[in-house]
């Protein structure tokens, strides 16, 4: 009992505050039950249960305390009270020293905290009720007396402490402070400022001090909150670490267990094998010895029989003896000749038998090492991860594996010559990725990887095919055609193998690098692209080739000006008697070439009419170009459909519209030919430079004398398809084309 009381005492000490909040006045009141007017039935029930429990255990004095405590805890749970410690402790206290109730000192502090008081009141009420009910089940009054003494003792101590604390507070209340002395950090009364030790001190109004104190508290609260969050995070982290540790050790245990079992199994198997082998050996030897023993016995019998026979013979008569003796001698001789085997066929001792434990040893060794890794999983190629000479290969491992390094092997994939073995390359790396360099552009490579650790290599991964990015395309700068609104750009792939697509990138050259806005046209399947542009600008154009691995580097740049229309002569259409200059803009018919024989008819090349076509961009809109001519030269300039009959003269069909100049007997003749007909037009000043305006929108083709800004003629023509500029020289001489020039203003009137 003493010990148990001591235990309770300890509890009391640990929670003196809770204890203090009891409103002990209640305990003196006679009408306690009325304090719980709306006490719910559930509580009643529980209380009755507690009572019965107490009754049943009441007899066992020694056990009473511990039982009571259990009960209190149970009650606490049933009542669903938030602070079970508080109640629990109080409950126990109250149950024990029932008689000490009246001695509880009143505590002034309680009056200042009505809310708290309310709660405490309720708690103590409940506790009192429970205690009251439980009391009947208690043992002798003497025991209670003892308890009460113990209780009073603890209580007394606690009260003393409390009173020591409370007294100065009461003093404060008496003289209400109205200012705060900053120096002393204490509230004082205003008059104290005048004299006393606060005379020289800085004082502030109490409300101000209160505010700053509140601020301070709020700050601290904030700090505390932060600390709480930090601590919570830390706890979470610890929890994670905890789990990880658990997992890791679990894994290790599992690993060890499997190894251990393996070794045991191996040993058991060896044991079985050995036992069996030994048994067999034993049986074999015993059998051999037995056989020897049997034959030995037989020999002995024979010897004995011979001895007896000989003895019998000795007793016979002489004649008989002699006869028998001879026969016997023969027989004896024969018998003695038969070797008697007296060597022991089987040795009783063991041969030196060594057991082979090497495999077990190996297993034993490996029990402390890690298993060899499983095959890594090689990833398929990530888009845009390759360059022309390198690819980035990635793979992953199973998380359980311990890997010290990987070996990445590769070789080019070649469908064409499977017989020829391509060289394999292998690199060793620590990471689960590798940038493999020095590869051939736009080529497929086969990659596979193995993981290694002390235990050895893993099986090889699957083989993955990666492809290097293509080589940059090569822009055919001589085939670039442009107009005010667009450019037609052509390029060579630059790659032997096909690529997936091309991208055209263009930057306005006029705007300095600062802006450098790059427009891109992507997904171009062929080696040419018509790109819409703004008029009157300069563009720098690049092309990239793309495949699975990524884009190539940029091609060499090409510059395009969207001023006027720009084209070059199409050599494929050129009559053999004509020569085209390097820049593709001058047509020369020399004197010597004339006598040559007429070439065979062709669909693309002019064969009769000594002409050539230009490659105009296929864009509807306006196109203007100029042709420099000699005023005594016979020439024809105009436009024609691509499929214009190449054997006919220009203007001699409905697929071409031309201006023809002929100079004969010092007279200039100008014809504007379409379908062999021309209007009758006379021009007094022979043009030296002819301007040609092709206007798809208005279906017009106009000719001008550039130097005079003179309009010569305008065709109205139905251009259902795209036409190309055409030029012919009926006599030796040359024509020079000027294009990529802006349209003169006078031309805009037509």
């Amino acid at each position: 009992m003493e010990e148990e009381s001591g235990e309770e005492l300890g509890l009391d000490r640990s929670t003196p505050k809770d204890f203090h909040f009891y409103h002990m006045d209640l305990y003196d009141s006679e009408d306690r039950p009325q304090l719980f007017p709306e006490e719910n039935p559930r509580m009643r029930k529980e209380v009755v249960q507690a009572e019965t429990a107490n009754e049943s255990t009441g007899a066992g004095d020694g056990k009473a305390q511990s039982d009571l405590r259990e009960e209190v805890e149970e009650l606490v749970h049933l009542y669903g009270l938030e602070d079970d410690h508080e109640l629990g402790d109080e409950f126990v206290d109250e149950n024990m020293p029932k008689m000490g109730v009246s001695e509880y000192p009143p505590y002034g502090m309680k009056r200042r905290d009505p809310a708290r008081e309310q709660r405490d009141w309720r708690l103590s009420g409940e506790a009192a009720e429970a205690e009251d009910l439980g009391f009947g089940g208690w043992g002798s009054a003497g025991q209670c007396q003892d308890l009460r003494e113990v209780y009073r003792y603890t209580h007394g101590r606690a009260s003393e402490e409390y009173e020591c604390y409370v007294i100065p507070e009461e003093e404060d209340e008496e003289e209400a402070a109205d200012v705060f002395c900053v120096t002393c950090k204490t509230p004082i009364r205003a008059f104290q400022k005048v004299f006393d030790e606060h005379k020289e001190h800085e004082v502030i109004p109490l409300s101000e001090a209160l505010e700053s104190a509140k601020d301070e508290i709020h700050k601290n609260m904030y700090k505390l909150e932060k600390q709480i969050i930090d601590m919570e995070n830390f706890a979470n982290h610890l929890e994670e670490v905890f789990i990880t540790v658990e997992e890791n050790f679990g894994k290790q245990e599992q690993n060890f267990e499997s190894h251990y079992n393996e070794i045991l199994e191996t040993l058991a198997q060896k044991y079985e094998e050995k036992i069996q082998a030994l048994g067999e050996k034993k049986k074999e030897r015993l059998e051999a010895l037995y056989g020897q023993l049997v034959s030995c016995g037989e020999n002995l019998d024979t010897c004995k029989e011979l001895m007896e026979t000989i003895e019998e013979m000795c007793h016979e008569e002489k004649v008989d003896f002699i006869k028998d003796a001879v026969a016997m001698a023969d027989r004896l001789g024969k018998f003695l000749k038969t070797k008697t085997d007296v060597e022991i066929s089987a040795q009783p001792d063991f041969e030196d038998q060594t057991l082979d434990f090497s495999d077990v040893e190996q297993l034993m060794d490996s029990i402390n090492t890690i298993p060899a890794p499983s095959a890594p999983v090689i990833n398929p190629q990530a888009p845009n991860s390759a360059t022309g000479s390198s690819v980035r290969v990635c793979w992953s491992l199973y998380s359980d594996d311990t890997v010290e390094s990987y070996q990445l092997s590769y070789r080019p994939v070649q469908d064409s010559s499977p017989g020829k073995d391509q060289a394999e390359f292998t690199v060793t790396i620590k990471e689960t990725y590798c940038s493999v360099t020095d590869l051939v552009p736009n080529t497929q490579y086969e990659f596979w990887v193995t993981a290694h650790n002390r235990a050895g290599p893993s099986p090889s991964s699957e083989r993955a095919v990666y492809v290097t990015a293509p080589s940059p395309p090569i822009i055919k700068t001589k085939e670039i055609r442009s107009c005010e609104e667009a450019v037609l750009i052509c390029w060579e792939s630059g790659n032997l193998n096909p690529v997936d697509s091309y991208t055209v990138e263009l930057t306005q050259a006029e705007s300095p690098e600062a802006s450098g806005v790059t427009e891109s046209v992507v997904g171009i399947p062929t080696c040419e692209s018509l790109v819409q542009l703004q008029p009157g600008q300069s563009y720098i154009i690049y092309v990239r080739a793309l495949n699975m691995g990524g884009p190539s580097v940029r091609s060499e740049p090409a510059t395009v000006h969207t001023i006027g229309s720009y084209f070059r002569l199409n050599k494929d259409t050129c009559h053999p008697w004509l020569a085209i200059s390097q820049d593709g803009l001058t047509i020369i018919r020399s004197e010597r070439s004339t006598p040559r024989r007429e070439p065979p008819p062709s669909d693309t090349r002019f064969t009769r009419c000594v002409a050539v076509m230009g490659n105009l961009i296929p864009v509807r809109g306006h196109h203007y170009w100029e042709v420099e001519v000699n005023e005594h030269l016979d020439y024809t300039v105009g436009v024609a459909f691509e499929d214009v009959p190449k054997q006919e003269d220009l203007g001699a069909n409905c697929l071409s519209w031309c201006m023809r100049h002929t100079f004969a007997s010092s007279r200039h003749k100008y014809e504007f030919l379409h379908n062999r007909t021309t209007p009758d037009i006379r021009i007094t000043v022979p043009p030296k430079k002819i301007g040609i305006l092709l206007d798809y929108e208005n279906s017009k083709l106009s000719f001008f004398n550039v130097d005079l800004s003179q309009h010569l003629y305008t065709f109205s023509c139905q251009l259902h398809k795209f036409v190309h500029p055409c030029f012919s020289l009926e006599k030796p001489g040359c024509l020079k084309i000027h294009n990529g020039i802006s349209m003169p203003k006078h031309v805009t009137f037509y």
């Binding site: 209007p679 037009i681 006379r682 007094t684 000043v685 004398n705 309009h711």
Partner: protein, 282 residues
């Protein structure tokens, strides 16, 4: 110099007006037509003078040629004067259609009784432009001239006699070499006397030969089925030959099937207006 408005009709957003005034050069009341394009409401526009052919008044061109749409689009003020003084009571002025009334030939007469009134050259090159510049929103620096038949002759000589005064010139079936054609011989001998050397001052083909060479782009349309061409009244070949020799730029278009009428003019009037607009609006 008071102007009297005879008529005003809205046309293609602008106004076709006819005015009457007392001409100092011609000593008679003269009518002229003027078309004010929509652009003239807000600013000065170029002036394009049209000279009509024999027998015409200011009415023929404005009612038959259909030039309004093109003039409206290009923003040109188009002035069409009458072809001769009227009501001067000169003996014999109404005797023939190709001399006298309606046949002023755009010369300043030097012979009696014509020299007081028949001063059409001065009228169309001096008096009328001053009147127009003073009363209408035109830019005097931007002036061109064109005409038909006798008016074509008038346009050519006005341009050739005043290098730089007109930005451009064009003509429909002009009388290119009046010195050598019956109409010209009759009119010039009547107005200028028998001294043929004086005639050359009003002959386009002869004027070309002495033209100092200020740039002039001449557009001429000629109907191929024009009876007067066949009669040798127009003689464009002489003019072309002279221009070719003197390198005066001419585009001469012989239009298949067309005659001398206003139907022919109406067909190509847009080309001519554009031809002038190209220089006037440059």
């Amino acid at each position: 110099m008071a102007l009297k408005q005879i008529s005003s009709n809205k046309c293609f957003g602008g106004l076709q007006k006819v005015f009457e005034h007392d001409s100092v050069e011609l000593n008679c009341k003269m009518k002229f037509a003027v078309y004010l394009p929509p652009k003239a409401e807000t600013g000065k526009c170029p002036a394009l003078y049209w000279l009509s052919g024999l027998t015409c008044t200011e009415q023929n061109f404005i009612s038959k040629s259909g030039y309004h749409q093109a003039a409206s689009e290009h923003g040109l003020v188009v002035i069409a004067p009458d072809t001769s003084p009227r009501g001067c009571n000169i003996k014999g002025e109404d005797e023939s259609w190709d001399f006298g009334t309606g046949a002023g030939f755009y010369v300043d007469a030097t012979e009696d009784p014509w020299k007081t009134n028949y001063r059409m050259y001065s009228y169309v090159t001096e008096e009328l432009p001053q009147l127009i510049n003073a009363n209408f929103p035109v830019d005097p620096q931007r002036t061109s001239i064109f005409g038909h038949s006798m008016g074509g002759h008038g346009a050519l000589i006005c341009a050739l006699k005043n290098p730089g005064k007109y930005k451009s010139v064009s003509a429909f079936a002009p009388i290119c070499n009046p010195v050598l054609c019956p109409w010209g011989k009759k009119a010039f001998s009547g107005y200028l006397g028998t001294d043929q050397s004086k005639w050359k001052a009003y002959d386009a083909t002869h004027l070309v030969k002495s033209y100092p060479g200020s740039q002039l782009d001449i557009l001429i349309d000629q109907g191929k089925d024009d009876q007067f061409l066949l009669d040798g009244q127009l003689l464009p070949d002489n003019f072309i030959a002279a221009c070719t020799e003197k390198k005066i730029p001419v585009v001469f278009r012989l239009q298949e099937g067309y005659d001398h009428s206003y139907y022919f003019i109406a067909t190509f009037i847009t080309d001519h207006i554009r031809h002038h607009a190209k220089y006037l609006n440059a």
